[in-house]
């Protein structure tokens, strides 16, 4: 189920400019249509979870492998595909130390020093923002033309 974003395997050709919006849109839409086709209509939550995974996967692929968080996301996705384990991805940030909380939020943050963590957080926020805008746009456009 995580093969939706395979092919197009080139890492981000313009790492300095940041991830490309069009590639993100393209990948995500492809994955979206795949999910809609393959999952039965009854299991809406299951489909929702798959779409969410597809969103993160397309984000990570668009960001390329030059980023620690994208590598961590892809690693996590591939391992989940093999083991079919569902582990909580979002941990609560009751950690007293804010750096620890940030490490739990950003994928792959546990193995980084503070400086790299800040850099990865910035890139992660950028990609997340783009993904959210894209998904919001899709929802808007599809809902405005529905019956």
């Amino acid at each position: 189920m995580d093969s939706k974003n395979s092919a197009c395997g080139n890492p981000n050709p313009n790492p300095t400019l940041g991830p490309s919006k069009l590639m993100l849109a393209f990948r995500f839409l492809r994955a979206l249509s795949l999910v809609h086709r393959t999952t039965p209509a009854s299991s809406r939550t299951c489909r929702g979870r798959r779409i969410e995974r597809a969103a993160y996967a397309s984000m990570a692929y668009s960001a390329g492998t030059g980023r620690g968080w994208s590598r961590a996301v892809l690693r996590r996705l591939h391992h989940r595909a093999r083991r079919r384990a569902v582990a909580p991805r979002r941990l609560s940030t009751t950690a007293g130390n804010r750096a620890e909380a940030l490490r739990q939020l950003v994928p792959g943050g546990a193995g980084m020093d503070y400086c790299t963590l800040l850099e990865e957080t910035a890139d992660y926020i950028k990609c997340l923002t783009m993904q959210v805008e894209l998904m919001q746009g899709i929802v808007d456009s599809s809902s405005s033309y529905g019956p």
Binding site: K4, L22, T38, R44, E52, L118, E133
Partner: protein, 378 residues
């Protein structure tokens, strides 16, 4: 160089002793005259013992063996006594050179090289040219020397070193706080290449290799925090690292929650995305770019494709003029994407190793080209 010139003037009798000793003697007297206005240069000639106390041991011994030249340097000192007061730069130069003698046990080697004593407490290697000031604490030096050096040095450039060798910890002397605004860079660049990295320390800051590295790290972290502050909306006005970090954490959490919520919403709605819809989505994000790249070629083809997709959806067909650019190029991904989706169903467990590009898809090879083209138009 002016100090050399003055030394040439001063010492006409360079036969029995090295000129540096004479210069150090003169310098000592100049300092004495600075400290004590009533200092008589002539008294130094006779009572050269006081001058001897300030000199390094070997130089003093040499002078003792050659007491004769005591007068000429003294008389020469009177000539050159007034010189340094006119221009402070020469004074500092001579101070620097004097410090060379202070830290270097072999004046002969230091005379040839640059104006920089070694930083280590041990006698420096002869091949590594000694570097500028702040002598490491040498306890066996007489205290009088320390006072002289402190008094004579008004402004001295302060250089820290980030070197991999073990650097002797500098004693926290009073000189530590006087960092220079004086651009004496030329003194530092003289000499051979050193394995050290010369970093100018700011005023009032230590120049340990550790503290320099920590300062560089702190500056890096602050730069990244500033970037983050710009990314997170509403974070620029917050002062204080802890609150900013809280804001960042909240922002990341809210973004992740939004992704989850929107994905649930998308699961309910099955979006029939024709590429006119895609145009709208993308143009909403990067509208100005699409308008700016005014390529209107190939109108017939997009029309054909658009009609195709519109027929499939049966929905409202929108084809706004500005995003027409997308039709031309997005056509190809659409075509190959359907192929992929079919293939994707056939190969459900096709795992991608992120580092390598995939092999085996002929349509796949065309997409990177198209995507590059798309990107350039973006």
């Amino acid at each position: 160089m002016e100090p050399r010139g003055s030394s040439g003037v001063g010492s006409g009798n360079s036969g029995t002793y090295t000129p540096e000793i004479a210069e150090s003697l003169r310098f000592e007297e100049e300092i004495q005259s600075l400290i004590d206005p009533s200092f008589d240069a002539s008294s130094a000639a006779g009572g050269s013992f006081t001058a001897l106390l300030g000199l390094p041991a070997n130089q003093a011994v040499e002078l003792l063996h050659h007491p004769g030249p005591g007068e000429p340097p003294a008389s020469a000192a009177t000539d050159t006594l007034r010189l340094p007061f006119g221009c402070s730069s020469t004074f500092v130069e001579r101070a620097a050179r004097f410090s060379v003698f202070a830290t270097d046990d072999s004046p002969a080697s230091s005379s040839g090289g640059g104006l920089s004593p070694g930083l280590k407490a041990e006698p420096p290697d002869s091949d590594s040219p000694p570097t500028l000031p702040a002598p490491a604490g040498k306890p066996r030096r007489p205290s009088k020397r320390k006072e002289c050096e402190k008094s004579k040095v008004s402004r001295r450039p302060r250089w820290g070193f980030l070197s991999r060798k073990a650097v002797a910890k500098k004693s926290k002397s009073a000189e530590e706080n006087t960092s220079a605004a004086k651009p004496a860079a030329e003194e530092n660049t003289s000499g051979d290449k050193l394995p050290y990295v010369h970093v100018r320390a700011r005023r009032g800051q230590a120049t340990d290799s550790h503290s320099l590295a920590e300062r560089a790290r702190r500056e890096k972290i602050n730069a990244r925090m500033k970037l983050l502050q710009e990314l997170v909306p509403g974070c620029s006005k917050i002062t204080g690292t802890a609150l900013v970090l809280d804001e960042i954490i909240n922002h990341v959490q809210s973004l992740q929650r939004q992704v989850e919520f929107l994905s649930m919403k998308l699961a309910a709605v099955n979006p029939r995305i024709d590429f006119s819809g895609l145009d709208h989505i993308l143009s909403a994000e990067c509208g100005p770019l699409a308008v700016a790249s005014g390529c209107g070629g190939g109108a017939s083809d997009p029309a054909m494709w658009a009609s195709d997709t519109a027929a499939s959806t049966g929905g409202i067909r929108r084809m706004p003029a500005p995003p027409q650019i997308w039709h031309l190029d997005v056509v190809h991904p659409q075509q190959s994407s359907t192929v992929w989706e079919n293939n994707g169903v056939a190969h459900p467990h096709f795992l991608l190793s992120p580092a390598t590009s995939l092999v085996g898809y002929d349509p796949a090879s065309s997409v990177p080209l198209n995507s590059n083209r798309l990107k350039t138009e973006l």
